[in-house]
Structures are given as structure tokens and as C-alpha cells.
Symmetry: C2
């Protein structure tokens, strides 16, 4: 008998039919003799509808009350799911974040988990029940108030419960078959990855792969939780995200996957005096805007002018604020001008095998050069190489690189693999 945590997103429980389908899967798992804890998101577009309603009442809803409002969403889906399971002959109990012991700090809208005390969930399992827990929500002990965990919060709820209950596996159900070597909508030859380390998964998620949220992967890695990302529309095995221990022998492909990200813009600060402390000055100004800086590149200065250019990428939505902030301090910093470019694409190649294999960079650059794709910025970590190209070449770049590293499968991947089951 295993203890399995299953997480179902809003698209899996969008309507009564979806709820019944998910209930059937849960009951099958329970009947196979496993203990089952289910984490569920709000149905379909419920959260967006509640946000719309709030905006009709006030332009900028406040944190505490917005959390109170939004948590109604999972309350609805979890109660209905418990009813559906019960109607199939298996006892089920639903629990709010607070009842399930998801203790958080008091940061409304993006609370961090500080403790998990799932006593009622454990008791429900001991009674032979399926326990349904509301994703996304928590409870602050100090204020006694309801909180929410922010984007991707239900994944985090599932992983945190899996860790606290010492679950054997945390299954993340989605509408695709697992993690792919590249986005199958862009690279038809992409293959499903059977197994990936949490380290690689983190780099892929940070580079634009959207199936899992970084925060949930981080939590799983820190607490040694094994994730199984799979489709709620069929019974195929998905992708296992594991945490190989130091010294454990794992067969690592040189490259595990490639990812692309079109959500960033590039800002170049032109003609920065090449004297110590200028970069620090610039990024202190940027940090005050709370913008999320990704890649940073500084060219060598031209000896004749004593000036250099500093480029960085950031979410497109943060660009205007940062430009305003830098312009206000232009005289103080002493740079010549700002350039803003929102037509960039970022390509990332990720693989733990990269550590012990020379030549990956060379192979990457050669493949891109052969395809006539220009590289504008480069940034690397131990297991990742990212390059910035023109936005309209990044998909072609992804296909070229995918092929160059031998990732192409023999059959084309099935996108949104629904067999209608």
C-alpha cells in the first residue's frame, strides 16, 4: 500500500463531467489499495470570474478580502468532488487549507508555507477515507486569517502535503502526457521525458517550460518528494521528477530538453562610464522597482571612450517601470541613453550531463549558425545554456537545436493527448 497525493488543476475539473471523470480515477486508485490525498484547484475559470466580480466592486481589491473571496473557488470544487467520489461508493471528506493544516505567513495573495500540520487529513486516511484538500489556500496563525499561495499555488499545496505525509509520490495531473524535450506545439518531434532530475526540471521551468511551477519543484527538491507529471485524460505513464542522491548513479543524457520563452524584453543601458560601482548603482535602481531581472550581459569597454554598454532581460510587463526609474536617474548615473527591445526570444538548453561533457556550447552555436540564426546574448549555469535571439527565429532555433542534440523522436508527439477517456 502506497500513500499517493494527486493534484488536479482547474481544466481537469472544469464541469460536472470533468469532476466525475476525476472522481472515477481517484476511486480506481483507492480500490487498488492505496491511500489517496487529492489536491484540487477551482473549477475552470472560477478564479477569473471571481476576480472580475471583485473588479466590478472596487478597482483594486485588498489582500485579506480578495483571499477570502478567491478561496470560495476551491471550496466549491472540493465539495463537489467529495460528493462525486462518495456516489461511487468510496467515503471522502473535503478539507479547506486551514482544516488541512496549511499554515502560512500573513502575506495575502502570495503567502509562503511556514508549517504543515495535516492531522485531520491523516485521521481521514486512517479511517479509510479519501481526503480532498483545497489547493492554493492556507491560514495564518497570528491573524487567524485565510491566505492564498499565489500563482501555481495548488502544485505547492500538493507537494507540501506529500512532504508532510511522507507520501510515496505526488502525482500532478494536467492536460498533456508529461514533460517533453521541447514544447510539442513548436517541435513536433519532441519526446516525452520518462525521468528528469528536479535540478534539470528547475532550469527548464525557469526557462519557459510551463507544465510545472518553479516553486513547487523547489519545494519537492528540498523535501525529497518524487513528482509524477501525467495526463488526467489517459492512463499513460508520465514524467517522473526525481531527486537522485549525491553519488547515486543515474544515466544522464547530455541534454534533457530545450525550452523557449517569448515573454521577456531586453533593455540596454548605453554609454555607462566604466568606473567601479556603476553596475551596482544601475541594478540598485532597477531592484527598487521589484522588476524580475533574468540575464545580464556587460560588454568590454571601448578603451578610447572609457564607456561600456550593459544589457539585461526582464518580463515585458516590467519594462516601462524600469525605463522610467532609470531615466529619472540618468544624470546621476551618467549613461548616454536607453534602448528597449521587446522582440527577443530566449532559448535554453538544459542537461545535467553537460557538467561532464565538453563541446555542448560549440555544438549549440554551430547548429544555430548553420541555420542562420544570430545570437545576441549568452548566459550559462552549470547545467544550462541560454541564448537570446530575435523573437521570430526562436521556434526554428528550438527545432534545430532539438535535432542537433539527437532529441528528435521517431513518432510525433501527441499534443493534448486526450483519448477522451
Amino acid at each position: 500500500m502506497s500513500l499517493i497525493v494527486q493534484k488536479y488543476g482547474g481544466s481537469s475539473v472544469a464541469d460536472a463531467e470533468g469532476l466525475k471523470r476525476v472522481a472515477k480515477r481517484i476511486v480506481e486508485t483507492r480500490k487498488a489499495g492505496h491511500e489517496v490525498v487529492v489536491v484540487v484547484s477551482a473549477m475552470g475559470d472560477t478564479t477569473d470570474e471571481l476576480l472580475d466580480l471583485a473588479e466590478q466592486v472596487v478597482p483594486v481589491p485588498s489582500g485579506r478580502e480578495l483571499d477570502m473571496l478567491l478561496t470560495a473557488g476551491e471550496r466549491i470544487s472540493m465539495a463537489l468532488l467529495a460528493m462525486a467520489i462518495k456516489s461511487l461508493g468510496i467515503e471522502a471528506r473535503s478539507y479547506t487549507g486551514s482544516q488541512a493544516g496549511m499554515i502560512t505567513d500573513a502575506q495575502h495573495g502570495s503567502a509562503r508555507i511556514v508549517d504543515v500540520t495535516p492531522k485531520r487529513v491523516r485521521d481521514a486516511l486512517d479511517s479509510g477515507y479519501v481526503a480532498i484538500v483545497a489547493g492554493f489556500q492556507g491560514f495564518n496563525r497570528g491573524t487567524g486569517d485565510i491566505t492564498t499561495l499565489g500563482r501555481g499555488g495548488s502544485d505547492t499545496t500538493a507537494v507540501a502535503l506529500a512532504a508532510a505525509l511522507d507520501a510515496d509520490v505526488c502525482e500532478i495531473y494536467t492536460d498533456v502526457d508529461g514533460i517533453f524535450t521541447a514544447d510539442p506545439r513548436v517541435v513536433p518531434a519532441a519526446k516525452k521525458i520518462d525521468r528528469i532530475s528536479s535540478e534539470e526540471m528547475l532550469e527548464l521551468a525557469a526557462s519557459g517550460a510551463k507544465v510545472l511551477y518553479i516553486r513547487a519543484v523547489e519545494y519537492a527538491r528540498r523535501h525529497g518528494v518524487t513528482l509524477h507529471v501525467r495526463s488526467s485524460f489517459n492512463n499513460n505513464e508520465g514524467t517522473l521528477v526525481t531527486n537522485p542522491k549525491d553519488g547515486e548513479i543515474v544515466e544522464e543524457p547530455i541534454i534533457t530538453g530545450v525550452a523557449a520563452d517569448l515573454s521577456e524584453a531586453k533593455i540596454t543601458v548605453v554609454g555607462v562610464p566604466d568606473i567601479p560601482g556603476k553596475a551596482a548603482q544601475i541594478f540598485t535602481i532597477v531592484a527598487k522597482t521589484n522588476a524580475n531581472i533574468d540575464m545580464i550581459v556587460q560588454n568590454v569597454s571601448t578603451a578610447s571612450t572609457g564607456r561600456t554598454d550593459i544589457s539585461f532581460t526582464l518580463p515585458k510587463s516590467d519594462a516601462a517601470t524600469v525605463i522610467t526609474a532609470l531615466t529619472a536617474e540618468q544624470e546621476e548615473v551618467g549613461f548616454d541613453s536607453l534602448q528597449h527591445d521587446d522582440q527577443i526570444g530566449k532559448l535554453a538548453v538544459v542537461g545535467a550531463g553537460m557538467r561532464t561533457n565538453a563541446g555542448v556550447t560549440a555544438k549549440l552555436f554551430t547548429a544555430l549558425f548553420d541555420a542562420g540564426i544570430n545570437i545576441e546574448m549568452i548566459s550559462t549555469s552549470e547545467i544550462r545554456i541560454s541564448v537570446v535571439t530575435r523573437a521570430d527565429t526562436v521556434n526554428e532555433a528550438m527545432r534545430v537545436v532539438h535535432r542537433a542534440f539527437g532529441l528528435d523522436g521517431e513518432i510525433e508527439a501527441v499534443v493534448h493527448g486526450g483519448t477522451g477517456r
Copy 2:
């Protein structure tokens, strides 16, 4: 400075506009220097929509999960209302039934309040906040589960909070101007009652007046809470429901109001052997069905046959179950047959002054006789006379009796008194 509990029903907060209008009224009360506790129902048809959703998933939803589901409704309305109040410059905090200390028994769907510990509500008031409390919902300490109070539960929440907080008044907002001497849709000459005793209100509510729920009036009477039933669409004074103490001199009109009820059916058990214990036997069988019996009439037996007829009224929806139960025991009880009549109307005349005034019954029967309306059953309490007539004559009966007792006003009542404010 007074402490005022205000209860707003679903029709007052049906949409964003309604929420804003209600918020404005609350803020005005707060700015007038009062402490304000607001009890709010789910928006418009939310509860019915959630019930529909549940029925799509399972034919008969279970108690615990149905309560979990339905309580999402007030969670939405109270959070939005708190936001709306805050946007008008007054701090507000919303609390679930559990957070507000509404402790109930474990009877899902129709829980009874066993204790009210509104510490967080009191703290919010002490901080100068408006406290918003979810109506209809509670919390069972033993199971740790969420419960609901059943039909009219939000009125009960408001009255229970008013009692626990020792509020000066509990205002029940609705879409009419108060309690009327008769339903203004049927009796255009009906007048708003300025003041009524809780005893009379109980009789009116039990006789079909729908503005207040019996349970809330009972609770208010037992705990000495003054109710003020008024419209959320204007600033008119409504109806005060008071609890005059013994010996207190209150000017009592002989008749306070009349009410009609078309929701009942009549069952007659024909040819019951007129021997001791037969009535007890019949109503023991009926009690096992949980049907809610209202009036009971037994005719004197005909000496020649030694048999009698027993008639009783009950909600139409209970009739089939009761007939099945009685038929199953027909031989055991020894009656001849059953008659079922669902075309009856019940008219009630209520007034505390009846106690000290002879001739009320005579005046009532005369008025009905003059109008050619036949009386089929009669039942009386100390301050009420009820008669059963044909269903299609009950509205005319109400108008006739209203006029006979001098209740007709000089101007016609305004139904759904909205001035659009």
C-alpha cells in the same frame, strides 16, 4: 453610540450595484457613530446555482459536503461587501460563521445554534472596523466541520449575534417596507405595521407571512432582541418587533394583521373507530414520516356508527408520504378511507388584543358569511384564529376580513417600495 446588527438578504446584494448600494448604507450608519455588525446572505441566486451544480454531480448530495459547498456563497458576498465598504473609506473585515463563533450541533443542512462566541467580531468593533459575518453558516466543535442553519438561516445568524453582542437593535433589510397588516399584493389597502409584539409576529409568520422566519423571531423573543424589519431601497422606518415585558402597558390593536397560506393540503381519515387511543395511533404513524402537521380537527362521532372523521393540514409536499404511511396501517387502525384535498387555503387573523376582546370570532365569521365564503376547518390560539377555506376564495377572504376589522389604510401600500435609491 449604539451597536447595530444589520442583515441583508440575497436580493439586496444580487450584483455589484446592489453590493455598492448596501455598502453605502452601512458606511452611513458607521459614520453616524454607531458600531455596525453586518450579516449577509449569498448573492442573488448563488445558492440555487450551487445546488444545481451539485445535482449534476450526484442525485442526492450528502450533508457535510453540501454544507461545505453552499457556504462558498456567503464567502463570496461577504468578501466583496468588505471590499466595497473599504473603498468608501471605512475599514471592514469579513468573518465566516466559524470565525464569528457561530457554534452549532452537527446536524448538516439544519444545524441548531448551541453557542455564540463572537470574540473576533467584538475585537473588530473595538478596532473601529465594520464586521461582516457570513449568514446561514456555523461550525461544529466536535467534528470540526462546517454546518448550515437551513432555510432563513441568515436571519437567525443576525439575531443570535445581536443577542450575544447585546446589540441595541437587529435590522433585517428586505425588499419591502416592513411587516404589513396583510400581503399588499393581495390586499392593496394593507398598511405597514409600525410596531408588533414578537408573540404576534410569531403567529403571523407561522400563518404564512413570509418576511421573517419563525425561527429567528423565536430566538429574538427568547433573548429579548428588538428587530427592525425595513427596506434596503429607501430610508423609511420599517416595523419594530418588540418584546413587551409582563405588565408593560402596550397599546394593542384588537387585530394586528391577517395572513394567508396556500402551501398546505388537507387529509381526512374517514370512519375512525371512536375508541380511546385511535387519534394517538394515527398521529404516531404520521410523526414517523417527519411531516409537519399544522391544524387538527376531529368531529364528534355519530352515535349510530361509533365512528368519527379526523382531518389535519400539512405541507403539500408531505402529503404523499403520509398517505402511504397511513394506508400501510389501515387495517391495524381500522379506518374506512382517506381523503386528500390540495385545494385549500388557510386564513389567519392575529392580534394580542383578542385576549381581552370578546366578539372577534363572531365578527370574523360574519364577514366571511356575508361574502359567501365557506369555512371548512377552524383552529384558534390565544391571539390567533385560523380558518380553512377553498384555495380560490382565500385572497378575497383576506380582503374582506382586513376591511371588517378596520385595517384598511387610506392610501394604497407601495409594493416592493423601491425608490431606486
